[in-house]
Symmetry: C4
Subunit: 273 residues, 4 copies
Amino acid sequence: MPHPVDVVLTFDVDAESLWDARDPDSLAKPIWRSQGRYGPRVGLPRILRLLAEHAIPASFFVPGVVIQRYPDEIGTVLEAGFAINHHSHTHTWAQNLSEQQERDEFGLALEVIERFTGRRPTGYRSPSAEFTPRTVALLVELGFEFSSNMFDDDSPYLLRDGDTSTDIVEIPFAWHMDDAPFFLYSNKLPGRSIAAPSAVLETWTLEFDQLSREPDRCLVVAMHPQVIGRPSRMWVLEQFVRHVLDSGTGSFTTLERVAAQARPTLLKEAGRA
Amino acid sequence: MPHPVDVVLTFDVDAESLWDARDPDSLAKPIWRSQGRYGPRVGLPRILRLLAEHAIPASFFVPGVVIQRYPDEIGTVLEAGFAINHHSHTHTWAQNLSEQQERDEFGLALEVIERFTGRRPTGYRSPSAEFTPRTVALLVELGFEFSSNMFDDDSPYLLRDGDTSTDIVEIPFAWHMDDAPFFLYSNKLPGRSIAAPSAVLETWTLEFDQLSREPDRCLVVAMHPQVIGRPSRMWVLEQFVRHVLDSGTGSFTTLERVAAQARPTLLKEAGRA
Amino acid sequence: MPHPVDVVLTFDVDAESLWDARDPDSLAKPIWRSQGRYGPRVGLPRILRLLAEHAIPASFFVPGVVIQRYPDEIGTVLEAGFAINHHSHTHTWAQNLSEQQERDEFGLALEVIERFTGRRPTGYRSPSAEFTPRTVALLVELGFEFSSNMFDDDSPYLLRDGDTSTDIVEIPFAWHMDDAPFFLYSNKLPGRSIAAPSAVLETWTLEFDQLSREPDRCLVVAMHPQVIGRPSRMWVLEQFVRHVLDSGTGSFTTLERVAAQARPTLLKEAGRA
Amino acid sequence: MPHPVDVVLTFDVDAESLWDARDPDSLAKPIWRSQGRYGPRVGLPRILRLLAEHAIPASFFVPGVVIQRYPDEIGTVLEAGFAINHHSHTHTWAQNLSEQQERDEFGLALEVIERFTGRRPTGYRSPSAEFTPRTVALLVELGFEFSSNMFDDDSPYLLRDGDTSTDIVEIPFAWHMDDAPFFLYSNKLPGRSIAAPSAVLETWTLEFDQLSREPDRCLVVAMHPQVIGRPSRMWVLEQFVRHVLDSGTGSFTTLERVAAQARPTLLKEAGRA
């Protein structure tokens, strides 16, 4: 007897910042950088169209510099009714940040997003799939309400700072529910390969089917418009959306809503509500 | 005419220790480490449920630090009736160990396991798929009865120290019967990719089918709850279990039992019984 | 209702220069270098035969040194009625070039191609999928009319130098529409794997099918005779060609024609016509 | 109308030498080394059984040290009626050899093979898929008759030393017709993945089918008993053998026979007969 599963499609609109963060000489490499431009310019419209066709919600993470560089494109995310969450300012990887730089990454992007959207972002995803030892304290200090960063569960829980749990709801994901391990490729990124679209679709639909055998699960899919927005990969996303909709057991939602629904119970379980 | 094949499902419950061993700065990387927590917390219950449903045995290897960190979770392995074998104390890779450190890795974990389970572990699997030149002598000295580490056979044999055979039964395995080469991924582990679940199922079922054409074979599957315990991979394990059960020629057993059954014959063949 | 899609098969006939550029000691490695020879000697005739059988056009890029080394083989490209475009002189990667060297790479190959074909090449593809910060200015100075280098669109546009658009038409491509990420392998190129032909065919046909749902798209397939020209990969190309021809919506063309058709509209849109 | 294709199954019986050559500390790593032992001990008997069942020939390459270490196992190759060809003495990679060392590698293995088989080996395959600039001259000096090393054709030709052709017949192969790129894996070999058996079978059968559309082609499959000899990979080899036999157009032969048949024509074409 299948259980309902919350499914959240999340999109990190990194544009060039994904590539800048992986190569300090990126600015001297126009083709390398062009890989990122595909995201906001070509992939994002396809994604918004697919979401509109099926009338399903999604969650977006956008670095500050991408909003500054692509205000029209990112504006379409807002017009479609989606919130924009925090994904750092420049997409710099955590291990390369000093304490002050990390603080600046948070502050600058908060400012840009608030000015651009009129709303303070409530959720955070790290651009490098890593925190520094200071990140959780910063998230608490800055009033974040949810995080989607960890790899240790299939259900939301209260984010921990070391062994102490915070009030922030963590909604974890997994590498095999991310498009980049399967599809992100460059001849200058060593050791990468490109998967068949059907192999990814198989992984994602199996993950959903198996999760719906258990109660209270939430499935987060982490994507990048420059990766999943390519035509042959939009096929994967579209087939996955249809699979979930046809299942009768999955429903698409946002990280905000997952966090809001989970928080009262989680706080109560933690003896804090 | 197919032959009976002994099939042993083995689980290395490494939790964070798998990641700590691969990065000396692991403790400063909470997301990196979170990948391991999935194993005892989410993957392991699924595995125990599957084993219970089909009433099949399995063999577990757990580092000492994981028992200390997750006593409740590892306790469920004992409650389900499975033995816990030796997988080092901290999961440190063999090439990074001095003679004294290797001795400590053995001693500390022996103490922890014996205290936790009331039973001295009789089997050993290296956490790095490697021995030092001293390891076999240590296994003999410490009274181990079986090892599941080598890559050189599809049947048990007497473990050799150089050219001298010991009384320890080696039950070898193979990389393609391990979940990690197919599924273990991190953006900070260079050169890795993620396989389709069906590709792994194909490999494992073909291996079983082909082995059952030969007498006296034993098939060891090496898994990690943090890897195979993910929903889409549990499908692989479940389908593999059904395939073996439906074959009529395979039967699930433990490494202890394989070792106990093989030892008299092997010792006799070696002229030592 | 499907839209017509322009499909351009492009072939980089790199021969040994692909390998020389990746290893400064290449000349001392006859087997390493032999990998490239397959392209003009064995792969190219197969490709020309397939194009002739289906009476379809294609675009070729050939380094100057390859024309010098294989005049007979490259001559068959001309005899078949195809133009030869600029792909550098020695296939040296952009990041290894000084300003003068880059200028020489352009000048030497222009001379060789013009002398060999009687026609100045009008299009350029970088041998390393990278430009230096000076490349676009050089392309303008040297009178190039089109470029097929970027990764940021599925339609032609005016190539930019920084933020300024030029009159050169860029016809972008994508890594998953290139044969090398799937098939290029050597035991001395770290971190590479070999895909199943059907996985590549799936990617390419899905890309075409999805693109034909959108107006004004152009699909560039980037291939190397030494890679796609292998028997099992010619199957991929042949099946892809049949798929496009059978679709009724795709038509094969050249980069020259795509550029010529797109230029008036693009210049008008840029307010320059 | 399909053409007959010569198909040659070749087996490099490298045992531990494959691993020793990739790690100077190999002798201190008993598990790493155990991967090689599988070849002569377990994989080789399966291969000989398959060849006998279908009554088909094959060509073997064995390093001198492997003959010394596994005389009984390598003896079964001779008993089955197959010749043993030269694959260096210690499997050391070409780039690590001084002139004298390369000469010794040839001389020592020649001695070992001649003493063991009573026959001087007539063919050579490099253990590292590479020659030094001196290798071809050595092959000529030592009287070798064929080589199976290059990647530049699908038919035999006269091996060249620089631009001068020798009397040695080269019978080239290709990485995708080798089992190692698909299956060779170790957690200490960076950047490797494991393919599905069906993906390899698809590649090999497509290669054969496509080659049989052309006259005078020869298909060399390069395998290692420690790789292809694993149960799930023996399935690939067996299915491939059946496919070739069922095709009616392929016939299995040896490199010796291919070389002997091709030599007169090749010498005549070169104006030397």
